[in-house]
Amino acid sequence: MSDLDPEDGLRFERLVLPHVDAAFNFARWLLRSRADAEDVAQEALLRACRFFRGFQGGDARAWLLQIVRNTCYSWLEKNRPRESMVEFDEELHQQPLATPESIAMAVEGRERLTRALETLPSRYRELLVLRELEGCSYKEIAAITSIPLGTVMSSLSRARRQLHCALVNPGCKEAIA
C-alpha cells in the first residue's frame, strides 16, 4: 500500500520528486557506488513517503537529504561497518596547503577528481558534495548533517584542504586512516 492519500501523493510529487537527482547523487557519494545508491536512495524515498505527513513545509530538499543521509549511514553501519566510523583527522589541519599549480595539474579529468573525493572520509565528502555539487547554503548543510551552523565553515575548510591534498598526493589517504 502507498502510505499517502491521493492529495498528499500529489503534494509529494510536486515538492519531493524534483529532488530525486539530489537524493541519488548524495547517496552515490556517501556509498561510493551507483548500484548501492539506487537501492538506498529508493529506500530513503519510500521512507520519505512514509514520513511525509510529518513534513511541515519549508525546504523539501534539505528534509529529503536528511533522510537520505540517515538511511545511508544506517546502511553503511550494517553493510560496511568499518567504513562509517572514520573520524576527522585533526593533524591534517597542520599540513601546509597544496600549491595552486599542483592542484591545477591534478584536477584534469573526472577520474582523478572522483578518486580524490572517494578517498576522503565520508564526513568530509558529504560536506563537499552538499556545498559544491548541490549548492546548499551553510544553513541547509547544518540542517542535513546536524553539524552546528557555527562550525560549517571551518569543517568545509578542512574538507577542502583534505580534497586538495588527496588531489595532488593520492597517498594522502594514508594520513587519514
Binding site: V20, F24, I103, G109, E132, S157
Partner: protein, 250 residues
Amino acid sequence: MSCDLTRSALHGYFDGELSAASNADFKRHLQHCSDCVLELATQEFVRDSLQRAPVYAFAPDSLKQRVRAHLRSGVRTDASPQRLIWQWLAAAAALLVVALLVWRVVPNVHDDDDYQAGLAAGIVDAHVRSLQPGHLTNVDSADQHTVKAWFDGKVDFVFPVRDFTNDGFSLLGGRLDIVQGRTVAVLAYARSGHVVNVFIWSTREPEESARAGARLGYQWVAWQKGNMEFCAVSDAAPAELEQLHRLFAG
C-alpha cells in the same frame, strides 16, 4: 601559505556566507594578502573543475519511475535482481551508443596542436569564471599605478599595466588566476558593455606571430612581447581585440 584566514573567513567569503560587514573586511584584507588571493583562486579553480567534470550523479529514470509507481499504485516496488540486470544492460548499451556518437561526431581537437587548444580552453574557462559576480578583480582600480603596485610580489615577472580609456578600453582592475597549472596575472577592461580579460605570463619560448581563435562564442587573440605572453579574451568583436593588441604593442 601562512595567513590564518585561508582556513577560516576565506571560505565564508568564497561561499557568500559572510555578513555584509565581514565581507567588506575580508575584501579589504584581500587588497594586501597574496596568500588569500592565491588560495581564493585555487578554490575557484577546484570548484569549477568539480562542477564541470562532471561528477554529479543523476538518478536513473528507473528509480524515478519506481517511486512514481509506488506513489500511484501502492504496489511494492522492489526491483528484482533479474530486472536490475536488464536495466544495467540497457543502460550500458545506451552509453555505448552515446560514446560512439561522441567519438564519431565531435571533432577531435587533440589532433592539431594539442597545446594551443588546451591553452585556449583554459583561458576561455578562466574568462567565464571571472564573469561570475565578484570574481572579475582582486584589485578594482582604474589607476594603472595602483593596479601595478598590487601585483608587486604576487607574480614573479614584471609587465606594463596601462589604462586605455581614451581608446575605448577602460581598466577595471587586476587579479591573479590559474590557467593550465600556471599562476597568471590578469588585467580586466571594459569595452562598450563587454568585459575583456588580458592574461599575462612569462615565457621562454621564441617569439611567435600573433594567433587568434574562438571557443564557445568567445574570441581570443594571443601575442608575445619580450618575454611575456599575452592573451586577450572577450565576447566583443575580433576587430576590437585586435585593436587592444595594437594598443599593448604600441
